[in-house]
């Protein structure tokens, strides 16, 4: 069975090694200092300059740590802290308050509202990285020990690994089998944006309740990521599992407008381990997604001999041809088993907006120069944000505009990241890869 798998498919492993820090702060000096500090480490710093953007990124990305400055333009960081601290605690995400102020009332308010640490901004850079590593490792260690998901009541990923280990040992002796369905809700992020995260949580909770009740076989349900689940049916073939998941889908459809896709596969004595089982289910899931979603596909070794990849287009929009050539060369080295990478060049914003660049079923990364003739980067950014409402578009500014106001303006207008020229081509690629892994996978 191993021969069916691409050599270096490490989707689940890769995600586990990446740490994401969400910094909610409008102080560009501090933000750039932190970004610089971590650029050689396996950490992505995601920056939100407003409380609203911070909340959105918190809901979308499930960060490993959050840093909030109370001084935000649209709302006090303390209010934001109050809003997210319960959920963050449930997910075991440590929150630190960072501030230029150090007064006792500031510190005590931070702790009262749920912050784990208070950090004065005159940080010692030598000790800051170990501090962050410490906080992230506490999170990983606690998460790995939890077996029941607080929100939905489903089992956790950790529980799945334990169950898999037990079942595979038992069934190997008794020559029995089980099947799993890997479930992913279609456009769940869009659903959350339109209906609010509370409604999204209702969908997930109801899914688990229905899964446990609707079928007479009571499958075990495991929550893997925000809207990714695994349902495990003992002694059921893939065909039977597909039918049971269809029953769950029908019951869900009667209550919510959102649909889900599923990939089904079964375990037998030739299966190597849980990674392989999940990867096979993921192939089937990707095929179901590719066919338009709201479908359940069974893994078939013959038709799945080639992996189904999603398209990801990197649009480089810059009037400097040498920048375009340099980035095109760098991005052409991007090897991934998750996407088909395409690269498109545009000599200015006008040419880009006039092209038919947007295909809703695909993923898009926009690398936007700030200063261009005919239509500059910020104007392009506004047009994209006004016309395209999709979680599959990632916009990064790559510009020589170093002014704090320009950076703030771009981030407040919806840019997901901001990089400065002159740039390190390899670093641009790595940062985009990290963001893609967090936002698209």
């Amino acid at each position: 069975m191993n021969s069916l798998l691409p050599q270096n498919l490490k989707k689940y492993d890769f995600l586990n090694h990446e740490k994401l820090i969400l910094l909610i702060d409008q102080d560009m000096d501090f933000a750039l200092k932190i970004k610089d500090l971590f650029h050689n480490f396996p950490y992505s710093i995601l920056l939100a300059t407003t409380a609203a953007k911070g909340l959105e990124l918190f809901q979308m990305t499930n960060p490993d740590m959050i840093m909030i400055d109370p001084a935000l333009p649209d709302k006090s960081g303390f209010i934001l802290l109050e809003e997210i601290s319960d959920i963050a605690r449930t997910r075991m995400i440590p929150i630190s308050v960072v501030s230029t102020k150090n007064s006792n009332d500031y510190i005590s308010r931070s702790y009262q509202l749920g912050a784990l640490d208070f950090i004065h901004k005159s940080i010692n850079l030598e000790t800051f990285i170990p501090f962050i590593e410490n906080r992230c490792s506490i999170k990983s260690s606690l998460s790995s020990k939890v077996l029941i998901d607080d929100l939905t009541g489903a089992y956790t990923r950790k529980h799945f690994y334990l169950t898999f280990s037990t079942l595979s040992t038992q069934y190997r002796i008794s020559n029995e089998s089980f099947s799993i369905g890997l479930i992913d809700f279609d456009s769940f992020k869009d659903f959350n944006t339109q209906n609010g995260s509370q409604k999204g949580d209702d969908v997930l909770t109801t899914f688990v309740e229905i899964s446990k009740m609707i079928t007479e076989v009571s499958p075990e349900v495991f929550r893997f990521n925000s809207d990714d689940f695994v349902v495990l049916f003992r002694h059921k073939s893939t065909e039977e599992t597909k039918e049971l998941i269809e029953q769950i889908a029908d019951a869900m459809h009667s209550q919510f407008s959102i649909t889900f896709s599923a990939g089904v596969t079964s375990w037998d004595t030739t299966t190597d381990g849980h990674k392989e089982l999940l990867q096979l289910a993921d192939y089937a899931l990707q095929r179901a997604k590719k066919a338009g979603g709201n479908q359940i596909h069974i893994f078939d070794p013959l038709s799945f001999s080639k992996p189904i990849l999603r398209n990801l287009t990197v649009h480089i929009i810059d009037d400097d041809e040498i920048v375009r050539a340099m980035l095109e060369r760098q991005f052409s080295t991007w090897q991934t088993d998750l996407f088909n990478i395409h690269i498109c060049n545009y000599e200015n914003g006008f040419v880009f907006t006039e092209s038919n660049w947007y295909t809703p079923q695909d993923y898009h990364v926009l690398l936007l120069d700030g200063v261009m003739p005919k239509m500059d980067g910020l104007e392009v950014l506004h047009k994209v944000k006004n016309n395209v409402h999709s979680q599959r578009v990632l916009v990064t500014m790559l510009t020589a505009r170093k002014n704090e106001q320009d950076i703030l303006h771009a981030l407040n207008s919806g840019a997901d990241d901001y990089m400065l020229k002159p740039f390190h081509p390899q670093e641009v690629l790595v940062r985009i890869q990290r963001l893609v892994n967090r936002l698209f996978i």
């Binding site: 960081g77 007064s103 004065h120 005159s122 030598e126 040498i322 340099m326 020229k421 740039f423 670093e427």
Partner: protein, 347 residues
């Protein structure tokens, strides 16, 4: 023959012919310039993708540029240096420049006119063409006038890490702090420790203050020991510059180093000590700050109130605005309460 009409017509015709010739000359010159420009642009467009590929591949291959296209090479190397931050790629560009342009620049420095020499110097600084360092050092000794060429020679040599420019500046009576700053800010990072040794051993007051100024601007904590050492210097100007640098660096290794400056006779030292206490929120200096809120100098009182507000919060300042024994201290505390609340509106 002396008919004025004939004279007028002859003059008119002569002028017309002259203008026509001038027009033809200018048009021809313009056509040639455009042709040259188009030729260079075509070579640039053709060579650029190959050069980007070359930068990322085996450096032993020949540079993909036709021979003697110096303008195109300058443009291409300079464009690359302007957009990339990757040290390995930058070094590859520098090596390209060194192998393609060295002999050309040597010729320009020996026989070229003033503008060609200065232009070449700018590029040499960008490309750090160290192979030409001896030539430029000699040229600096020959150039006596304090014009753009000598200034650019200093900048270029500094970028190459040639510390002889410091000796040159020490011997120039007209050298300013900004000239020293220009040198320090261009020195490659591995040469900075040597610059510190030089300044410690032979440096003038101007050189030392400029180095402290540079460290403050660079905000690099690796230079902190030198800065902190100067806090103990006998010269007050150096102590003040060291305090300024610490304030800008936003860090001090041992807060006790600040203690003597709160009691200094020099109000500028007191002011900077207070500013540092504020920016680092050093709550252990509470009693001293409370005392300095009543300092005789307005600036010291002003920054003390700021430090108290940031470090201990509004309540402390409110309390001091009522209870401080000094009338001016109470005034300043009240003033900062108003200022502070305006700043905090968004929080």
């Amino acid at each position: 023959m002396n008919n004025p009409l004939v004279i007028f017509i002859s003059l008119f015709v002569t002028l017309a012919i002259f203008q026509l010739l001038l027009l033809l000359y200018l048009a021809n010159k313009k056509i040639k310039t455009n042709k040259k420009l188009a030729h260079e642009q075509a070579i640039y467009a053709e060579a650029m993708p190959a050069y980007i590929q070359y930068l990322n591949s085996d450096p032993n291959e020949p540079i993909p540029l036709p021979p003697d296209e110096y303008h195109v090479a300058e443009q291409l190397f300079s464009d690359c240096m302007a957009i990339i931050k990757d040290e390995k790629l930058q070094n590859n560009v520098r090596e390209s420049a060194s192998s393609y342009l060295s002999s050309h620049y040597e010729k320009v420095m020996k026989t070229g006119d003033w503008s060609s020499r200065v232009n070449a110097l700018y590029y040499m600084e960008d490309f750090r063409m160290t192979s030409l360092q001896p030539l430029l050092s000699n040229r600096l000794k020959e150039v006596h006038t304090n014009d753009e060429e000598s200034q650019q020679l200093i900048r270029t040599l500094a970028a190459m890490g040639d510390l002889s420019v410091l000796t040159y500046l020490e011997n120039e009576p007209e050298s300013t702090e900004s000239m020293y700053l220009t040198v320090f800010s261009r020195l490659p990072e591995d040469v900075v420790p040597k610059a510190i040794d030089y300044v410690n051993k032979d440096g003038s007051l101007k050189a030392t203050t400029s180095l402290l100024m540079y460290f403050g601007l660079a905000k690099n904590l690796a230079y902190l020991p030198f800065v902190e050492e100067k806090l103990h210097d006998e010269n007050s100007a150096l102590q003040i510059q060291a305090l300024k640098a610490i304030f800008r660096m936003n860090y001090i290794s041992d807060v006790n180093l600040l203690t003597p400056f709160f009691k200094s006779d020099n109000w500028i030292e007191r002011m900077f000590a207070v500013k540092i206490a504020g920016v680092l929120s050093l709550s252990q200096f509470e009693h001293i700050l409370v005392e300095l809120l009543g300092d005789r100098i307005w600036w010291v009182r002003y920054y003390t109130a700021d430090a108290l507000l940031v470090t201990f919060g509004e309540n402390k300042l409110k309390e001091l605005s009522k209870s401080h024994p000094d009338h001016f201290a109470r005034d300043m505390a009240s003033q900062w309460l108003t200022l502070g609340s305006q700043v905090n509106q968004n929080e």
